[in-house]
Structures are given as structure tokens and as C-alpha cells.
Symmetry: C2
Subunit: 622 residues, 2 copies
């Protein structure tokens, strides 16, 4: 008979069990033995070698069209990233830079001629490349970048140039050592006119790795983590590239040297281009979640084994049986499960709606929000796991430390989390705009405030006092609570912005003055979606034991999220004080139930034992 | 005229300006140039060399009596630790192991003969040593350690022995390479009798560094941080030491081979011995605070320089002018100041009440609480600072990453924070026991519950609704709110324990069932003390501008702490929903005011520029 862990694992892996097994098989080969990540010059070469093996196994190109050697299976590409992340995060980032950022930018921003020329070489890692967007002075504000690509009609070429120090490209993965070319984002200049940010393929090194004339590259050096990735800085000094190197899906230059585009609105064009790159915001939170799952597996296994203190003259007690320890780890286990289902649904939906721009806008907002929520959660989870393992958590033989260091930057790259949450909030407000296309931002705000388009439940004086077990364990109560919070914050945020705008405040200032409020809006939206997806996933489970176990996890996720926000709920009179206390007590009680399954629930992740500790790597240092 | 930063610095440094300047002068010498901390075999030797220089300058022995080459100035010893922490945390921990743990254990647990023989050699670092308490199976639960020291009256000696694998000493600083001796904690066995945990001086290596017979030492290897400290594991195989090596201040063996002690109660004796070592719980939070101050200096300077986004066609905006950025960093700045004054007061009080056992018990509780509160705060602060610096925060040239890694274990060593907070809570309950000595634990609980000894303010229906600026900015409001919270939680925690005990539950289980509650009790106590000390410090300031600036910081500390706990306050009807919102708005408003002084307030820490980045160390790697 199957164990609970095995049954849950089947739910988690679904129809991707085969690709997961395949990736694990590759990663279990002797070439993938861990080594010292701080000996970074060697480690970078190792990680390149690891990427090459994965490419040879067809993992890099799996998301590309079959015509270019791929399998046309973007969803499995995300699963590959997720699985690689159990082994090493430098590996998944180097892999993601090459096959995701570099490859997908050529695929999504380029056209047939680029695909023909580059995609096979990218997918096989014959042509290592970079994604050169971020500049020293402009990270979050990509529209402000200052690298230029000036068109010369006379010889059908562009000159790519770094006009000021702040326009150097920075933190560029693959750049310090291996990239032979890059997708470079630069402002397209034709004549005197600036046509805004476009993307170009710029060669950086020849086949022998010699840096090409006009290109200067500096190593970003050692970092807190991800030291297997060679991040670098790039300057261009009047570098010439042929006209065909413009990635011309959304911008073209015609035979007369005139600018052409299917999307004349500059802002819309910019966001459409960026929108095609949103896949990174699915791969990254999935990778982050794998790191959180690894940390939880280590910490929960340890807590189920380690004893300390106990009743007088009795046996010492397992630390997982301490109320405080349960409170630290089990809500995070619940959240990891919640995020698993939500990210899976996001990936599936994103992949199946490719080529539907209206749908894509929705997925962009969702991906931004989940990326921020999942990566912050990983930082928090690994911190708790480190502390929950005490001194053991600090030794390098325990992989929590390296996971913490490697994943720390996840909250910054692929979009700074705070900036993303603000973006999500704005998209929640302006999603009404999609329906009423002629409205501008302040019209939308007015509309949201004045019309009854946001459905806010009437508070029921009995429900706000209901502390019965059946109510506190009811999915409907949770959905109502999460939805109520999201809608109320949305309405009140809109109201505040409107009042500032009415006072004549500049839109930027008005938005800034409400930005703490908007962060809460973003979070409340994401939390509602995550809960919805978790409940939906549970609804599909047939096995009684699995369903009961995941139901308790979902209850713990919902209750602990409401508890975290109890200040807000009490402020709004959504619950009374006694109910707030009852929620806390119920959360402790459900935690005790979840504790019974905890070992099964981490075993269900089926993270290879070799990924839970790294004794070899570090004895090799001694 | 002095700047605000200079004036505030004088308040912070007080009469320790001279020793701080002296330490900084030493640390600014070329020998202290940064190097790669991950090249740990070299780095460990460098850190030893650094310690030696500090010892030669008299910094190591500064807290020892003048008779043994010291200055008898324990308070300045803490200030030395705090200042060294700006430079490097491996250094301060190696320093603390040698001069604090090793030296102070000999000083406080030993007697005249030990002081004569060892103290000068320890203070000069001629005799490097360790503090071998923690065992693999027993970290937090020190009374459970299993190393034995068996007395042999016939030849006036002890045999020190590791009877089982779980009794090996572990994570022992200085042990892997440098210690020539250690204070070893072991159960004293005389005949068949086990007299509980005592401390012994056990030689580990000879002058040449050769490990002595019967001793086995293993390197703990690479760690997440603090790689300049050589942590090791130690096993003893029937190691013989002379009788005089028993640190015999609290336990003696008389000339007939009989056990003697001035404190016959075994539990009290154990805690008295540990109590003399409480100094570490003052040095560690002070060191942690220095790391937080360094992170805040880096992040706030960066935020006051970095621009991103802005109004249409306007200049980009400093990121410190974003509401979200202010909310992330400025309450942490306020908390750093709050902790500064509280830790200073703790150090001063602890030093001036040496030799007064009743007072010491109070300081032990306070030190445990502040250690946990300050070190958790450092972890949180450095995390926010890393994220607030974006990609820059991830590069090793920025010291935030190394500070994060080095300080992460601070929440575990010198007592796991969760265990400490539970200890604090217990000490708050049983502090009534001191007054009523004949009560046992459950009597105390009954007493607390039944008698009106805890003063809980009557809630005033006007005050709970008062949203006037003058009220929200009033120190009296804050003190009342913090005190009310502490006392209410104390009373309700006692009530809960009592009800479990009345139901016949075992005391251990009853306490465990309330432990989330007790954690809150510990925190609320510490927060009340920290606020009280901050207000008291501000009361002594004469300069108007400084007083106004620190008053705003204190307001921000109090308001953001109340905001963090608003769920609790609302549950208890201490405030109504509207007041909760008003507190949040006032906190944002005061944050904007604090932002104006923010640069001065970090400059007032006067952290050397060389401690804010480490470009040399890491270019040397390239």
C-alpha cells in the first residue's frame, strides 16, 4: 500500500512525474557532486558544465518550438527549473539566463530569421548568451535606461553605445566569462528621434572567448550567493551591429529607413515587449518554492528527531512537539503547499493562453504578485528553518545556509518585490480600465470609488461573532474573509488616491502617498488567489486520507493568514475580539493535527537526500 | 558649530568616546585590511593575529581586575566589543570566546589560585582557550550534558570523559585550531554520586599546538558565516586533570574527598554558576546592534543617493522619499536607537551591581530578553537593508551580505532566542516568588491570578477613542500602552497555566501549551523596558535640536511597535478601529519627519567608511 507521502507526491507531481524523474536522474550522476561554492572561479566552470549536460539531455530547449530542436513544452520547462532548484540555485539561474532570458528574448522579441539563426545554438548551449537590460542607474525603471542604438541607414547598421557611466549594463548573468552574445536593451535612435527601448543582439566574445572590440566587461566579483553564476558589467564603445540584429517582432525599420511598429502607442509597445518575458516571473517563484521546500524538509526532519528538555524524570521531548516550534514551521509548510498549487495553476494557465494578449495581461499581474509573494516567503521560511535547526543550521554541511544566500536576491531580481507589489495593485485598479477602455487613471479611480462595481459583503452581526468550530474550519468563511479584505482595501485605496487627486496633487505623489496601502492591496489580492487555488486543488482530490490531510493544511494556511492580518479585520469590525482569539486557538489546534502528518508532508516533496546536506563539498575544504 | 550628527554622537558615546576612538585607531591600521572570509584557513589565522594586536593594546583584559593586568572596567569591555563589531564579526566572536567566555569563566567560576595562574596569560592571549559547554545532544538544555569528570581521591585528580557520541562538545569556538585549554562543563562524579554540572580547566594542546593524549578534536568546517572563528568538536577519552583544575568558587572537594558547596540546592547552584556568565548576553546584543547600525548606515546612505522613477517629465525621486522605503527602514532606525540606550543602561546596571545576587537575577532576565530582542532585530534589519539596496546589496563589496551571514547565528548562540524568551516569561511570573519565598511555581501562579498584584489600568472610554495629535505623540500614552500590554499578558498567561494545572496537567505540558503566550509575554516585557529606557535617556538631553530629533525617533519606535501589535490592542478593546488607523497614519507622518534627519542619525553612529564596503577584499579574489 502506498504511504500518505507517496499519494501526496502523486498529487504534487501530476502528469509531470516523468520529467521530474528524468531531471533527478541526470542530477544524480557523479558529475553533479557538490563542491565549494565559494571557490567561485572553479564553481562557475562546474556550473557551466552542469548546464551543458542538461542541454545535451534536451532540458534547455524543452520549451522551444520543435522546429528549433525543442519540445514546444513551456510548462515542462518550468518543471525542469523547479526540479533543478533542489540541486543548486546557481545552476538554475545560469540555466535560466541561458535558456530563459537569452533564449526566450530571441524567441519572443525576434522573428523567423533570428529563430533560424540562433535558437538551436542557444538550446544546445553552443552559443552562451546574456540578457543585458539592467543598467547601474536604472534597474526597476527600465524605461529610463540610457544605452543607445543609433541607426545608420547608409550601411544598414546600428551603433550600440554606453553614453554615461550610469548606463553600463550591470549584474548581467553569464557576462563575466561565458556569454558570446547578448540581448541588449537600448533606446533606438533614428536621425534625431528616440523611439524608446528596443532589443538588439550584440556579439560580445568570439568562439575562443576573446572579448570583441568596443566591448568592455568587468566581473561583478564575489556575491552573497549564486557564486556559480558569472555576473558582469558591460560597456559598449560605439559597437557596430548589422540591421538584422534588431529583434524586430514589435519594431521594424523599413527599406526607407523609417520606423515601423504594429503597436504605435509607445507605452503599450514597451509593456507588450516586456510582457513576452514574463515567463521568468513564473520560473523564479517556482525555483524559490523548491528552496523553501528543501529548507522545510531539513528543519522538519530534524525537529522530528531532535529532543530537548522534557517533563521531570521523563524522556526529553521532540522539538516538533513544542507549541512554539509548531507555530514557527507548520504554517510555513502549509504556505508552501498553497503556493505549489497556485504556481502550478499559473504555469498551466500562462502556457495555455499564449498568444492571447488580453489574457496575458492578467497573467502578468498574477505572475508579478506570486513572484513577490513566493520569494518573500522563501526568505522568511529559510530564516525560520535556519533558526529552527540551531547551531546545526549554521554549518555548511547543512544546505540551509547556502540556500539562504543563493535565494536572497530572488526578492530583487526579475523585478524588485516592492515595485512588483505596487504594479499588482495598480493593475487591480486599472483592470477596470480594460472594460472601460476610454477611462484614464483618475477616471478609473473615480469609477471604482463611485460605482458599486466592487462587491463588498455586508457584515453579518452573527457571523462576526461566530466562534463555532464548524465555522472556523469552513472554506467558505476563509474565501469570504480573504475576498472581503481584498475588496475593501481596493475600494479604500481608490478612495484615498481620488481624494489626493481632487486636491490637485500630482499623480505620482498621490500614488506614493498611498503606497503602503497599495502594498497591502497587492498582498491581499495574491493571498485570495492562493487560497482559491488551494481550495480548488483540494476539490479535485479523491483519496480520503490525502484530502483530509491537505484540507488541514489549507485550514492552517487560511487561519494563520487571517491571524497575521487580525489587526486589519478587527479594525474593520469584520471579526470581534473573541473571534480573533478563537481563530488563534483554532490555528494552534490545527497545527497540532498537521504535526501528525508533517513528516509525510515533507517526504511527499521527494527531495533527494543528497540535496539536504553537503558533507562532501565541505570536507573537501578541510 | 557642531552638526546634529556630531551632537547626537556625543550622546551615544557618552564618557566612552575615548575608548571608542582608541579601538577605531587600532582597527584602522593596515594590518586590519579586509580579506576574503571564505578563504577560511587563512582568515582564521588573520583573525587570531587581529586578536593578538587587540590584546597587546590591553583591550582583551580591560574587564579583568588590575591585579591580573586588567583595568577592572567591564563596562568598557562591552564598548570594545561593540566597536570591534563595526570591523568584523568573526573578530568580535573570537575575541569574545577568548577574553569573555574563556577568561570570564576562569575569573567567575574559579578562585584566587586559578586567577593567579591563568588570568594574565589569558588577557595577553599567551594562553588561547575555549569554553566547552554545548554538547551535540544538549545545547539549550545544559543540565542534560553527559560529559563526566570523575574524582579520584587517591591521586587527587579527575578523569574527564565523553561517555557517548552525543556528549561530544560541539561548535566550540577556538577549538579547531588555537585553544590550548578549555573550561569544560561536566557532571562531577564522586564515588557513585553525581553532583551535577561543574566546570573544569582541561588542557587541550601543548605550546606547539599538538593535541594532548586522550583529546580528539575535529574541525566543524565551513559555516554560513563567522569563518574567521575555528569552531570544533571535542571528545575526551579518560583525560586526567589535577584536582586544582576544578573551578571551585561554588563547588569544592575537601581534604577528605567530600563534596562541599556554599549553595546546597542543586538547581540554585547550577543557575548561580550560569548567572556569573551572563556578561555574554550583554556583549552579544551590543555586537548585534553594531551590525544593525552598519546595515542601516549603508542602506540609508544609499537610499539618500539613489533615484528611481518620478513624476512625468520631472527628476527621478530619491528612494528614501518613497513612503514604502521609509516604512521599511525608518522604524528600524528608531529601534536601533531605542536598543542603544537600553543596552547601555543594562551594561551600566549590570556592572555596577556586581556581587549583589538579588540584583543579578533581575539583570539575568533582562539580559536574556534584550539578547533575544536585539539579535532578532538585527536579522530583520539586515534583511530589510539588503533588499533596500537591491542588487548592490548582494555584491560582496557591500558588507551587508557578510554581516547577515556572520550575525545569523546570534539568534542561536548565547542561548536560543525562543528558549530565552520563555525563560524571561518564566522569570516575570516567578519574580513574585522572590517576594514570597515559600511559594512554589503553582502557588505563584495562583497568587498572580488571584491577588491584585498586577496593576492593570482601567480602560477609559474617552482615551480608547482619542485620536488627537497631542495624545498620539505623548510618551505617557506609549508607556501606558506598553505597560498595559505586558501586565495583561502576564495575568492571562498565569490564568491559563493555572487552569491547566488545576486540571491536573503536568507542569511541563501546561507550560508548553501556553508557550506562544509566554513568548508574547517575554516580548512585551522587553518592549516596555526598551521604551522606558529610551524615554529616560531623552529626558536627560539638554540640546533642543537633539532632543527634538530623538523624541521623534522614540515616537516612531513606540507607534510602530503599537502598530505591530494592533491586533492585540484591538482584541482587548484598548483602542478602537479608528484610533488604530490614526496610529498608523501618525506613524507614517512621523516617519516623514524622521526622514529629514535620517542621514544625520546614521552619521551619528560614526561607523568608519572602511567598514561600509570591502572592495579591496573582493577585488583581491578576482
Amino acid at each position: 500500500m502506498d504511504t500518505l507521502a507517496q499519494k501526496v507526491n502523486r498529487i504534487l507531481e501530476g502528469d509531470h512525474a516523468e520529467i521530474i524523474a528524468k531531471v533527478k536522474e541526470v542530477l544524480s550522476r557523479p558529475e553533479f557532486a557538490y563542491e565549494n561554492p565559494y571557490d567561485y572561479q572553479n564553481f562557475r566552470e562546474t556550473v557551466l558544465k552542469w548546464c551543458k549536460i542538461l542541454a545535451d539531455e534536451g532540458m534547455g530547449s524543452i520549451g522551444y518550438p520543435e522546429a528549433y530542436g525543442g519540445k514546444g513544452d513551456l510548462h515542462r520547462y518550468f518543471t525542469v527549473m523547479e526540479t533543478i532548484s533542489y540541486h543548486d540555485l546557481s545552476l538554475v539561474i545560469k540555466f535560466g539566463v541561458q535558456f530563459g532570458l537569452w533564449g526566450m528574448s530571441v524567441l519572443n522579441l525576434g522573428t523567423e530569421k533570428h529563430h533560424q539563426k540562433y535558437m538551436k545554438a542557444i538550446g544546445s548551449l553552443e552559443l552562451p548568451g546574456s540578457f543585458a537590460m539592467t543598467e547601474t542607474s536604472h534597474g526597476s525603471n527600465v524605461r529610463g535606461i540610457r544605452t543607445t542604438a543609433t541607426y545608420h541607414h547608409e550601411n544598414q547598421s546600428f551603433t550600440v553605445h554606453t553614453p554615461v557611466e550610469g548606463a553600463r549594463k550591470t549584474y548581467i548573468g553569464n557576462a563575466a566569462l561565458h556569454a558570446q552574445a547578448a540581448t541588449v536593451f537600448a533606446k533606438l535612435i533614428i536621425g534625431e528621434e528616440d523611439y524608446g527601448v528596443c532589443a538588439f543582439i550584440v556579439p560580445l566574445r568570439d568562439k575562443d572567448g576573446t572579448i570583441l572590440p568596443g566591448v568592455r566587461i568587468e566581473d561583478c566579483g564575489m556575491k552573497m550567493g549564486l557564486n556559480g553564476v558569472d555576473n558582469g558589467r558591460i560597456w559598449f564603445d560605439q559597437v557596430n551591429i548589422p540591421k538584422e540584429n534588431l529583434l524586430d517582432r514589435f519594431v521594424q525599420i523599413d527599406e526607407h529607413g523609417n520606423f515601423q511598429t504594429p503597436i504605435p502607442n509607445r507605452g503599450r509597445r514597451f509593456f507588450t515587449m516586456l510582457g513576452t518575458l514574463v515567463g521568468g516571473r513564473i520560473g523564479i517563484p517556482k525555483s524559490a518554492l523548491s528552496a523553501a521546500k528543501t529548507g522545510l524538509t531539513i528543519a522538519i526532519k530534524y525537529a522530528n528527531h531532535r529532543r530537548q528538555f522534557g517533563p521531570k524524570d521523563g524522556k526529553e521531548v521532540l522539538i516538533l512537539d513544542y507549541q512554539t516550534h509548531q507555530k514557527r514551521l507548520l504554517p510555513l509548510l502549509a504556505k508552501a503547499y498553497a503556493l505549489h498549487f497556485s504556481l502550478e495553476k499559473l504555469a498551466r494557465g500562462f502556457v495555455s493562453h499564449q498568444g492571447q494578449p488580453e489574457e496575458m495581461i492578467r497573467y502578468e499581474g498574477l505572475a508579478a504578485g506570486l513572484k513577490a509573494y513566493a520569494t518573500w516567503n522563501t526568505t522568511k521560511t529559510l530564516q525560520e528553518c535556519r533558526e529552527a535547526c540551531g547551531g546545526k543550521g549554521f554549518l555548511s554541511e547543512n544546505r540551509i545556509g547556502i540556500l539562504k544566500n543563493d535565494s536572497d536576491i530572488y526578492t530583487t531580481f526579475e523585478g524588485d518585490n516592492t515595485v512588483l507589489m505596487l504594479l499588482v495593485a495598480k493593475s487591480r485598479l486599472t483592470h477596470y480600465k480594460e472594460t472601460y477602455k476610454d477611462l484614464d487613471f483618475s477616471d478609473v479611480v473615480n469609477y471604482v470609488v463611485n460605482e458599486a462595481i466592487i462587491n463588498i459583503t455586508e457584515l453579518n452581526p452573527i457571523t462576526i461573532r461566530d466562534t463555532s468550530d464548524s465555522h472556523l474550519l469552513d472554506f467558505e468563511f476563509y474565501m469570504d474573509a480573504f475576498t472581503y479584505r481584498e475588496n475593501s482595501i481596493l475600494k479604500s485605496a481608490a478612495r484615498r488616491v481620488k481624494s489626493y487627486l481632487s486636491d490637485g496633487m500630482d499623480a505620482f505623489d498621490a500614488f506614493n502617498r498611498c503606497s503602503n496601502h497599495f502594498i497591502n492591496l497587492g498582498k491581499s489580492y495574491v493571498e485570495r488567489i492562493v487560497l482559491r487555488d488551494f481550495i480548488e486543488a483540494i476539490g479535485k482530490i479523491e483519496d480520503t486520507a490525502v484530502k483530509a490531510s491537505l484540507t488541514r493544511l489549507c485550514q492552517l494556511y487560511a487561519l494563520s493568514t487571517i491571524e497575521e492580518n487580525k489587526g486589519w479585520y478587527l479594525e474593520q469590525d469584520y471579526i470581534v475580539g473573541n473571534k480573533s482569539k478563537a481563530i488563534r486557538n483554532m490555528s494552534v489546534q490545527i497545527g497540532k493535527e498537521v504535526r501528525k502528518d508533517a513528516l509525510d508532508l515533507v517526504n511527499a516533496f521527494q527531495i533527494p537526500d543528497s540535496c539536504l546536506s553537503a558533507p562532501i563539498a565541505f570536507s573537501a575544504l578541510g
